[in-house]
């Protein structure tokens, strides 16, 4: 198994390098160069343009410049943004990346889990009205035009029902008198949520080792305790309203992307389950007299999980794109929106940096899926 993982990791590094090279070439292919942009002012004497070029190292051969850029990247120097001068690109990315990661990870995890469960249940109930109905819903959600879907979500929840704000990261009014930055609160929200989740996870792991009678109470208790803990923390921190402001702006974008990503997994799971249910070992399981739920969950679904998990690989690319669209429609300032704005404004350093980061995000997600698969399939684990 480790050899398999090792190979995937090396492949990822290689792909990353290739990706960076391509990114660089992409940017470099644009006619004119940075110096021209900076010196659009006709009052600057021509000699100055040449001097600027030399200073910026733009007259060096392309390959050298490319290697320079890549090397700089790994030293953490991504350049300075044009549009948000004088902030450095890495600074901007550091500010915005956690937001996109929250969006991406939450949406994908929740979507996968719900898609898996509903797909499994639906396949079992083949031929019923429920199955047809949910297939229609699934197909609709999968093929709907995402910007429109996002707008519909805004219309329904923000405009008509007025449950959540229609966009943006925060409501600036609430933060006028705040002593802390939005990122401070945002990161604290992430930490507390993670702590709560880790706690629940550990309790669940523990619950598998104790007698059956206590399992459900322990699990329920851990969830309640975790939620109470988080709420208590924020209630006593004095920043509760600021935290809520951020959270309420989070709900719609995350919800939209989750629902959008959910459809793919659900449809795939349903199809895969139908195929899995025809396998011989399902007949064996039934012959053993196992109850339906056990056959469905322990035998069929656990096997159907494998191809569906692999299917994640294809949906990651779609998710990243979906994230960009969601951030744009909601004006939610994550990496995706930054990419769009930087590209349209021709802020090359920022665009390159963000594109590379998005590439890394995709690659790392891939690697995680590959690692996950190795653990899920005993045929890989014990080759």
């Amino acid at each position: 198994m480790w050899i398999y993982l090792g190979k995937r990791f090396v492949l990822m590094l290689f792909t990353l390098l290739l990706f960076q090279i391509i990114t660089y070439l992409l940017m470099d292919a644009q006619p004119g160069d940075v110096a021209d942009l900076l010196t659009m002012n006709p009052d600057i004497p021509p000699g100055e343009v040449q001097r600027l070029r030399q200073e910026l190292g733009l007259d060096r051969p392309p390959v050298e410049r490319m290697i320079n850029w890549i090397a700089n990247f790994y030293r953490g120097n991504l350049g300075v943004s044009f549009t948000e001068y004088p902030r450095t690109v890495s600074d901007i990315i550091k500010e915005r990346l956690p937001r996109t990661i929250v969006l991406f990870v939450t949406a994908n995890v929740v979507a996968f889990w719900t898609g898996f469960v509903t797909g499994k249940i639906l396949a079992w109930k083949r031929g019923t009205a429920l199955e047809y109905g949910s297939t229609i819903v699934g197909v609709t959600l999968y093929t709907i035009f995402l910007p429109w879907f996002a707008l519909m979500m805004i219309w329904l929840f923000a405009v008509t029902l007025d449950w959540f704000p229609p966009g943006k990261f925060i409501d600036p009014m609430k933060w006028l008198t705040a002593e802390v930055s939005t990122n401070y609160i945002f990161l604290r929200i992430i930490y507390t949520t993670l702590a709560a989740l880790v706690f629940i996870f550990l309790c669940f792991l523990l619950s598998n080792r104790i007698p059956r009678r206590f399992r459900f109470p322990l699990r329920l208790g851990s969830v309640v305790l975790a939620i109470a803990g988080v709420l208590l923390y924020w209630a006593t921190s004095g920043y509760a309203d600021l935290a809520w402001d951020i959270v309420s702006h989070l709900v719609l974008p995350v919800g939209t992307l989750t629902i959008y990503a959910y459809a793919g997994t659900m449809l795939l799971m349903r199809t895969t389950m139908l195929e899995t249910l025809r396998e011989d070992y399902i007949l064996t399981a039934k012959a053993k007299g196992l109850p339906d739920k056990m056959v469905r969950d322990k035998h069929a679904a656990r096997n159907a999980l494998l191809p569906v998990w692999t299917g994640l690989v294809f949906s990651i690319v779609g998710s990243v794109g979906g994230g960009v669209i969601t951030e744009t429609v909601f004006s939610w300032p994550g990496i995706g929106l930054t990419l769009l704005r930087a590209s349209t404004a021709e802020d090359i350093p920022l665009a390159m940096g963000v594109l590379t980061i998005l590439g890394i995000l995709t690659l790392v997600s891939h690697l995680i899926v590959d690692i996950g698969y190795a653990f899920l399939d005993p045929r890989i684990r014990y080759a």
């Binding site: 011989d280 007949l283 039934k286 012959a287 109850p291």
Partner: protein, 325 residues
């Protein structure tokens, strides 16, 4: 010793599959019984209904299949009218099965041990963990597997090992009767022979009833005391192995026996059965074998013959038993 205690009794079982073109009568009025500790064989061509009988006995039918008549009595309890939830209590505990082409009969993501344990946990909850563990070791030794392998995954086993594991699994809840559906077909001949010996030994050792299903007459002869010959979804003949081989009554059986060349004795001409088994969507009227039967007469074409006793404990469904006109 076998006694008259019938572990399994099948009476007038009729089952059909619903297809796009109409119902296919895969099993038509089949009746037989198996006594405690007895081993019977069920033989016939592909598509004659023997596997259908096997899965019907455990009521493991697919959605488009339906038992429309008959009784299946396990230790006196009729399974046919029972709901799926009720039938589950019988499965594996009283009647279990070793599947055909069992290469994929085990779930690839769980250890072999776990797959055996789950059945035991369900049907023998009174056993402690330690007892179950010992039982699995014992079963492994019985089928000729090293118990150390039990915590491995099916893909780590060879074909022959997997088949043995399946047999161990089928025995795990001490069923009264076990159905072996062509368990050795997918294996090479040497392993096949070993396994066959094993199966025979186990059956005798545990005094367990067995139905051995195969299209290979030679194999059936090795393991069964009595043999049932199936044709086109019906039982053509049923008698002791000796009687079937040396004194077949039904022309189809006679054809089968002649088709099996003996390596000893004088050379006899190979009797061929012309034609093919009938399409079960539209079976021929009267006796289903009549289009291929050299002794067929008008009555054969019109009325289906009754499955009745023609000699002691020797049943056949034929108007001209033994070929007499």
């Amino acid at each position: 010793m076998t006694n008259n205690d019938k572990v399994l009794e099948v009476k007038n079982l009729t089952m059909h599959y619903m297809t796009r073109k109409g119902p296919v009568y895969a099993i038509d009025d089949v009746s037989f019984y198996v006594r405690r500790g007895e081993s019977i064989g069920l033989v016939g061509e592909s598509g004659c209904g023997k596997t259908s009988v096997a899965i019907s006995l455990m009521k493991l039918l697919p959605d488009n299949a339906e038992i429309i008549n008959g009784e299946i009595l396990i230790n006196g309890h009729d399974l046919v009218p029972l709901s799926d939830a009720e039938v589950r209590k019988f499965r594996w505990r009283h009647i279990s099965m070793v599947f055909q082409a069992a290469m994929n009969a085990m779930n690839p993501v769980y250890t072999v041990e776990e797959q055996i344990l789950e059945a035991m946990r369900l049907h023998r909850p009174e056993m402690s963990d330690k007892e179950m563990d010992e039982k699995i070791d014992h079963l492994f030794e019985l089928v000729g597997l090293d118990p150390a392998f039990k915590s491995q995954y099916p893909h780590q086993y060879s074909g022959g090992m997997r088949q043995r594991a399946i047999i161990a699994m089928a025995l795990s809840c001490d069923p009264d009767i076990i159905i072996a559906d062509e368990p050795t077909t997918a294996l090479d001949v040497i392993v096949q022979d070993q396994l066959l010996q094993k199966v025979r030994d186990i059956q005798r050792q545990l005094n367990m009833a067995m139905i051995y299903i195969s299209h290979d007459i030679a194999v059936i002869a090795e393991v069964s005391e009595r043999v049932g010959v199936m044709y086109a979804g019906q039982l053509a003949e049923m008698a002791s192995t000796e009687a079937i081989f040396h004194h077949p009554i039904h022309p189809y059986t006679m054809g089968l026996m002649s088709a099996f060349p003996s390596i000893v004795g004088p050379k006899t001409e190979l009797v061929q059965l012309p034609g093919e088994p009938p399409d079960l969507l539209n079976p021929p009227p009267g006796c289903r074998f009549h289009p291929r039967c050299p002794y067929a007469t008008d009555i054969c074409r019109e009325k289906p013959p009754e499955f009745k006793e023609h000699a002691e404990n020797h049943y056949a469904a034929c108007w001209h038993p033994g070929g007499e006109s």
